[in-house]
């Protein structure tokens, strides 16, 4: 989260919030035209809330949150005003021409000026509007061409390749902002334009994340300084763990153990930085990433079906006919304090077994008393490019099932989602009972997400909307296969 504001229902705040939004967009790398349009979209939404959401309250407030990734900006506006559905207020140009009725004009502009506009009805807990815009990556070609033009011709990797060199002959320093350009070049040489993380083509963006300490990485160089490999973890913003996110070895330097050396060094660095654990989302259309994780004692804890679109990996099979499922492999870096967990009976055995596999100490309690919160608190994030959504339950209120159902319904009505994932807090005594209440919502098991939010353990469930052939999902580890079998039994 970049920023969060609570705004009074007062038109005088429209301009200040627009000024902030416009400048924030520019800082995130959005170009001026798109920043203008995205800000106008927010202006429309805020105006609508001010005019219509609270007709009888003058002291009401609403919330605006700003968050960005390297390739996307997103604004989430939440309010608990009168029930409202933007789909029932569509702009009708004929009606406007005949009757001068502009109803829905603002929402038409919002839809045109955002890449994604999602309305989430949370029932009694109000409404959320998600506005998102991709950061333009069309200039990659131009940037790389310019970068080449400005620099003297470099020797190709083949020209300076030294076939005799093995992993131990390379250096593995921690990545610094100065390595940004070499990383971008390495990604380009290896994947051309097929690498999924577009931001890795931008030296400036890599530099920003390294300066911001969001990323912890290792770069492999030969004695001449040529970068031949890069491996990084991305720190999670809501917990002290990091995702093994970016890995590349130049094709001419593969099969020499460089990836393994980098992983080993990365684990050392993560321990030095007191990260509680590392996790990887390893694709299942081929087992290579899972094998590497397994070699370094990662434990498979969950299988997320249809988690990502089918991406073409350099050197790997491109004819995979369905969305790619991923295995969550987790490596605790320290033994966490013993936590008390409340496991739903249906998954008690597999969850307890997963904790044992991970060597994470827990005390399993049954039938504990609990008190519900006044209101349910569920965080929602949408991955627009992968067509998935993650709901994280922070608190259960008396209306939990209704709120969750409303959120799922409104999400599904607007987005062509492949999967919705739901994280339930295992250290909350209400979870077993609330789990039983949502059994009709169509969620099946995904697995354990240890230490995933605020250093606490979660049960991940999944609801799948796309057809999958589970035989095409390759799971490498024995324990991962056990999780897959349980999921397969529920999926069919």
């Amino acid at each position: 989260m970049d920023a969060q504001f609570q705004i009074a229902i007062d038109e005088q705040f429209i301009s200040p919030i627009c000024e902030f939004t416009y400048n924030w967009c520019l800082n995130c790398g959005v170009d001026r035209d798109d920043a203008t349009k995205f800000t106008i979209a927010l202006s429309e939404l805020v105006t609508d809330i001010i005019l219509f959401a609270y007709p009888k309250e003058s002291n009401a407030h609403f919330d605006i949150s700003f968050r960005h990734t390297l390739s996307n900006v997103e604004i989430i506006v939440s309010e608990v005003g009168e029930p409202f559905d933007p789909d029932r207020h569509r702009y009708n140009a004929d009606k406007m021409k005949e009757e001068g009725d502009f109803e829905g004009a603002g929402f038409r502009l919002i839809r045109r000026f955002c890449d994604e506009f999602v309305f989430v009805n949370k029932g009694k807990e109000g409404k959320e509007f998600h506005l998102s815009k991709e950061i333009d990556v069309q200039s990659i070609d131009m940037m790389i061409e310019r970068s080449r033009a400005e620099k003297p011709e470099e020797p190709t990797a083949e020209e300076i390749e030294k076939p005799g060199l093995q992993a131990e002959n390379f250096n593995y320093p921690q990545v610094t902002p100065y390595d940004a350009e070499d990383i971008a070049k390495l990604i380009y040489r290896t994947y051309k334009y097929t690498y999924t993380k577009e931001e890795l083509y931008y030296p400036k963006k890599i530099e920003e994340t390294l300066l911001g300490k969001e990323k912890l990485g290792v770069i492999a160089r030969n004695d001449d300084g040529l970068a031949v490999g890069y491996f990084a973890v991305l720190k999670k913003t809501d917990s002290n763990i990091a995702e093994v996110g970016e890995a590349v070895v130049s094709p001419n330097y593969r099969k020499r153990g460089i990836m393994s050396k980098m992983m080993k060094r990365l684990i050392e660095l993560a321990r030095e930085q007191k990260l509680a654990g590392l996790y990887g989302k390893a694709v299942t259309n081929h087992p290579v990433s899972q094998k590497v994780n397994h070699k370094y004692d990662f434990i498979s804890t969950a299988l997320m079906l249809a988690d990502t679109r089918n991406v073409v990996f350099g050197g790997f099979d491109s004819d995979y006919p369905q969305s790619v499922s991923v295995v969550i492999d987790f490596l605790p870096l320290f033994t966490p304090n013993k936590a008390t967990v409340y496991l739903p009976a249906k998954y008690r055995d597999i969850l307890a077994e997963t904790f044992t596999e991970l060597d994470i100490p827990v005390e399993v309690k049954k039938g504990a008393k609990f008190k519900l919160a006044k209101k349910s608190d569920i965080d929602l994030s949408i991955n627009y490019s992968d067509s998935t959504s993650l709901l994280v339950v922070n608190k259960y209120g008396p209306d939990f099932v209704a709120v969750l159902s409303d959120m799922i319904t409104s999400l599904k009505e607007q987005e062509d989602l492949h999967a919705i994932f739901l994280d339930l807090p295992l250290q909350n005594a209400a979870t077993p009972q609330q789990f039983n209440k949502i059994k009709d919502l169509g969620f099946i098991y995904s697995g354990l997400t240890p230490l995933f939010h605020e250093q606490a353990h979660y049960l991940r469930l999944q609801k799948i909307y796309t057809e999958l052939d589970l035989d095409l999902i390759e799971v490498y580890s024995q324990f991962g296969k056990k999780i897959k079998k349980l999921i397969a039994d529920e999926y069919h």
Binding site: I14, C18, T36, S43, T47, I50, M96, R108
Partner: protein, 99 residues
């Protein structure tokens, strides 16, 4: 900070929008429109952002028998007019003074 500067002269109100043209700006302009005003000149030279509240206000003013002239409207205004399908039914009077 002021939102607009305005000056009345007989039946004309000249308004300079100093920042964004939104609901607040619209309400400010409306509050200065007295009965004798029939011509409205809006200088948008310093306006970066304008939303549908601005467009609807100007359209309704223009279509209710009054006169409207805009100075240096930003490009986004024309895009909004296009999106709201107003182009064919609204002949907008405007003057470009920027080179």
């Amino acid at each position: 900070m002021s939102i607009i500067e305005s000056r009345k002269s007989k039946d004309t109100l000249k308004v300079k929008v100093l920042n964004n043209f939104n609901l607040l700006t619209r309400n400010k302009i409306e509050s200065r429109l007295t009965r004798e005003i029939g011509k409205l000149e809006i200088d948008l030279s310093h306006c970066k952002l304008l939303d549908s509240e601005a467009i609807i206000f100007m359209y309704q003013w223009d279509k209710s028998g009054n006169k409207l002239n805009l100075i240096n409207p930003p490009e986004i205004l024309f895009e909004i007019i296009e999106i709201l399908e107003l182009r064919d039914i609204w002949q907008l009077n405007y003057t470009e003074t920027k080179s």
